[in-house]
Symmetry: C2
C-alpha cells in the first residue's frame, strides 16, 4: 500500500499537469485557479487507495480520480455563488475575484471536464463509470437543493438532515471508493462494500465538520468558530437541540438581533446542557464503526485494511 | 424519410415521457418547466433525420437526440442567468419564476441529465458519443465566453465574430448531425460530412437570427425588432458597419443616451447605406450552399438529400 502522502503527491502532480487551452482566458483561468486551490483531496485519495488495495496499478484509476476531484471542485465553485460566499480556502472565491457570470460558466465547463476525465482510459468500463458518476452527481444536486430548502424551514428532522448530508456529501465519497474498485475490476460485492464504506465515512466526516464549527479550536480548524450558529444553519447540533429544548430559549435565538459573541455563547450553552458534543461524537463513532465493518466483506491485506481503518478513525477525531 | 413534423412529434412525445424524481421539487420542477417550453427542437430533429437518412431506425438515436436537446436547454437556462434575461419563449425565465440559486442548480442537473441521456443505449459507441458530446460542450462554453468578452470590446473583427458564433451555436448543430450518423454506424467520412453540414447550417441559422433582429417582421419574428441595436450587441451587422462607417455617426450611437426608436432608426439607416441587409444574405446563402455541398460526399436517396437541402434553404429564408 502506498501512503496517503504518496497518493496526495501523485494526485497533485496529475492536477498540475492538466493542460488548459490558452483561450479564452476568462473561461480557463478560473478553472485552474479553483483546482490549484488545494483542499484535502480526500476523494481522489480514496479512489487510488482502493485501486491500490485491490492490487491494481493506481495509474489505471487516476483519470477517474481526477474526474471526481474536478466534479467536487465544480460543486464548491457553484455552491459559493449560490451561498454568496466571499472566501474559500483562504482566497477570494471565483465570483469575487472575477464575476458571477464567469463563476457560472467556468463551473459548467468544470462539470464537462470532470466527465471528460472520467472517460479517459475507462476502456470497456466506460458505461459503468458514467452510470456511477452521473447517478452520484444527480444525488449531490438533490442534497444541495434540500440544504437550500432547509434554510427556510424550522421543522427539519434529524432523519431529513442525515439524508441531506448523505446526498450532498457522503455519496460522492462512496462513489470515489466504488470508482477505485470498478477501475480495479472488482466484483459487485467488493464494489458495493467499498461504496458503503465511503458513504459511512462521509457521514462521519460531515458530522465532524458540523461539530468542529462549534467545538473546534479556531487556530487548528482554520476558520472562525460559531459560523453555523450565527447563520442559524440547520446542523445536527441545532436540529437535535431544537427538538429537545423545551425552554424556548433556542427558538428565540433563531434570527435574533443579538451580538454575535452573545449568540454563540448562549446557543453553545444550550448544546452543552443537552450534552450534544458528546452525543454527536457517539454518532460519529457509530458511523466510523459501520464504515469499518464494511471492510470485513472484502479480502484485504492487513496493511490495506489498516489503511482504511485508520482513515475512518482519523476522520472521527480530525481537528481541521 | 420521415417528415420534419413526424420527427418533431416523436421528439416531443419522448420529452413528455421523461420521468422526473418527485423530490426535491425545487430541483426537478424547473427542469421540467424548461424542457416543456418548446422551441424549434432543430438539434434533435437533425440527429433523427440523419439516422433516418442512413436507413437506421430513429429509435437508435432518440436518447442521444434528447441528450443534445437537454444540453441546449441547459445552456439557455444558464445564459439567461448570465444575461439577466427576464423572458424566454414568452414565459418568465427560471431565475425570475424561482430564483437564481435554483436556476444555477437546476441547470447543473440538466447538464448531468444530458450526459445520462447521451449514454442510454449507446452500446459500444458510448466512448465516441461521450467524446463528441463533451468536446462540443467545451466549445460551446468557449463561444459563450467570447460572446461575453466581446461586450466590453470595440475592436471585434468579423472573423472573430464568425469564430464565436461557430463555437457558441454552430458546433452543436454539427454535433447533432454527427451524433445521428454515429448512432447509425456510419463511416468517418460520412460522420465528418454531416458534421460540416451541421456547422455550416448553424452559421447560416445564427446569421439569419442576427438579421431578423434588425430586419424581421415583429409579428412573425415573435419579439421586438432592434433589441440587438439597443444593447449595442456585437452582431455581424454592427461589426461590419463599425469597420466601414467612416462618418463616425455609428461610433456615437454606441452607449448613447438617446430615445430607443431614434437609435434603432439611425443605426438601421447606417446599415442600409452600407447595403448590409443584402450583403448579410449573400453571406448566409454562401454558408447554406457550403452546407449543401457537403451532402455530395454522402450517398443519400433523392428523398433524403432533398430533406437536408430544403432544411438549409429554409434556414436562410426563415422569418422566425
Amino acid at each position: 500500500m502506498y501512503t496517503t502522502e504518496y497518493l496526495l503527491n501523485y494526485i497533485n502532480k496529475a492536477i498540475n499537469e492538466i493542460s488548459y487551452s490558452n483561450k479564452p482566458e476568462g473561461l480557463y483561468a478560473p478553472i485552474k485557479y479553483t483546482l490549484d486551490g488545494g483542499g484535502k483531496r480526500i476523494r481522489p485519495v480514496l479512489t487510488l487507495a482502493v485501486c491500490d488495495a485491490l492490487g491494481v496499478d493506481i495509474a489505471q484509476a487516476i483519470n477517474q480520480a481526477l474526474g471526481i476531484e474536478i466534479y467536487h471542485n465544480f460543486t464548491l465553485l457553484h455552491d459559493d455563488v449560490m451561498d454568496k460566499a466571499d472566501m474559500r480556502r483562504g482566497r477570494p472565491t471565483v465570483h469575487i475575484k472575477w464575476n458571477e457570470e464567469t463563476a457560472i460558466l467556468s463551473g459548467d465547463a468544470m462539470l464537462t471536464m470532470a466527465s471528460q476525465y472520467a472517460c479517459i482510459n475507462a476502456g470497456d468500463k466506460i458505461a459503468q463509470v458514467m452510470e456511477l458518476f452521473n447517478r452520484t452527481a444527480m444525488e449531490v444536486y438533490e442534497g444541495q437543493q434540500y440544504d437550500m430548502d432547509f434554510e427556510s424551514r424550522n421543522d427539519v428532522t434529524v432523519e431529513e438532515y442525515l439524508n441531506m448530508i448523505c446526498l450532498k456529501t457522503s455519496v460522492l465519497l462512496g462513489c470515489a471508493c466504488e470508482m477505485g474498485a470498478l477501475m480495479a475490476g472488482a466484483s459487485d460485492e467488493v464494489k458495493d462494500a467499498f461504496y458503503k464504506y465511503g458513504v459511512k465515512l462521509g457521514l462521519a466526516f460531515q458530522l465532524q465538520d458540523d461539530y468542529l464549527d462549534t467545538y473546534g479550536d479556531p487556530v487548528v480548524f482554520g476558520k472562525k468558530i460559531g459560523g453555523d450558529i450565527l447563520n442559524d444553519k440547520k446542523t445536527w447540533l441545532l436540529i437535535s437541540a431544537m427538538a429537545e429544548d423545551k425552554s424556548g430559549r433556542l427558538q428565540k435565538m433563531i434570527g435574533a438581533d443579538i451580538a454575535p459573541e452573545e449568540k454563540i455563547k448562549t446557543v453553545t450553552a444550550i448544546y452543552n446542557e443537552l450534552n450534544l458534543a458528546e452525543r454527536c461524537h457517539v454518532l460519529i463513532d457509530d458511523y466510523a464503526a459501520d464504515a469499518i465493518s464494511e471492510l470485513d466483506k472484502i479480502q484485504l491485506s492487513a496493511e490495506a485494511k489498516s489503511f482504511f481503518v485508520e482513515l475512518a478513525q482519523k476522520s472521527c477525531r480530525r481537528t481541521h
